[in-house]
Amino acid sequence: MALEKTGQSFKTMAITINGNGTLTGVSVGGLPDGIVDTDMLAANAVATAKIADDAITDAKQNLSGTAKAWVNFAAGDASIRDNFNVSSVTDHGTGDYTVNFSSALADNDYAWFVSAGRGGNQGVIIAVQDTTDMTSSAFRLTTRNTSNNKEDFTHVCAGFFR
């Protein structure tokens, strides 16, 4: 085996090659980058702290059965309290909003769950105006009172599963 000079310093250490060809005593950190392939890692060897945030986000979005996006906003001024995979909420008018996804969903066959409240025992109806309002990149909804008139509610929560 020949060691190629890489400009790194090597500490003195014992390197053992046993009878079945297994090499031990080599520190990964002392070798050039990229020498460890994925299939060389032991199961569970990489902690989430070692994975970039973008990779974790991608994994969440590709995992079946989890929310691909969710948002909690105040319908009055559409201020967004918190969200996942939502870039913005569009206020089209009283009780009329579009949730815009940061990353598009796989298609528009996702399941959506929306709830709204304004305090007290007042009813609310959630409506999707038209099938064209459900796209892979956005979801338009209206919040209405029990008289079917559009109305702003203090809490609107929406989740999207695929």
């Binding site: 201020s79 870039s87 913005s88 569009t90 008018g93 009283t94 940061s102 990149s137």
Partner: protein
């Protein structure tokens, strides 16, 4: 300045003033959100959120002029 301090305004084909409220918890920049969530071909105004009235009694009658 947080994304949510900014609002994008445009008028849709029905004459309604639409207000886009950017999310803070996103990797997208304000420009990326504007390009993605505001329709192309429309004039989009960028305003501070303080410019938006808090009284929404006549929300559907709102218009915007610079």
């Amino acid at each position: 300045m947080a994304n949510s301090d900014t609002r994008f305004l445009y008028t849709d084909d029905d004459g309604n003033l639409c207000i886009v409220i950017p999310a803070d918890n996103t990797d997208l920049t304000l420009n990326q959100i504007k390009d993605k969530d505001c329709p192309s071909g429309k004039t989009v105004y960028i305003v501070d959120k303080s410019a938006i009235p808090t009284d929404r009694s006549f929300r559907n009658a709102w218009t915007y002029t610079e």
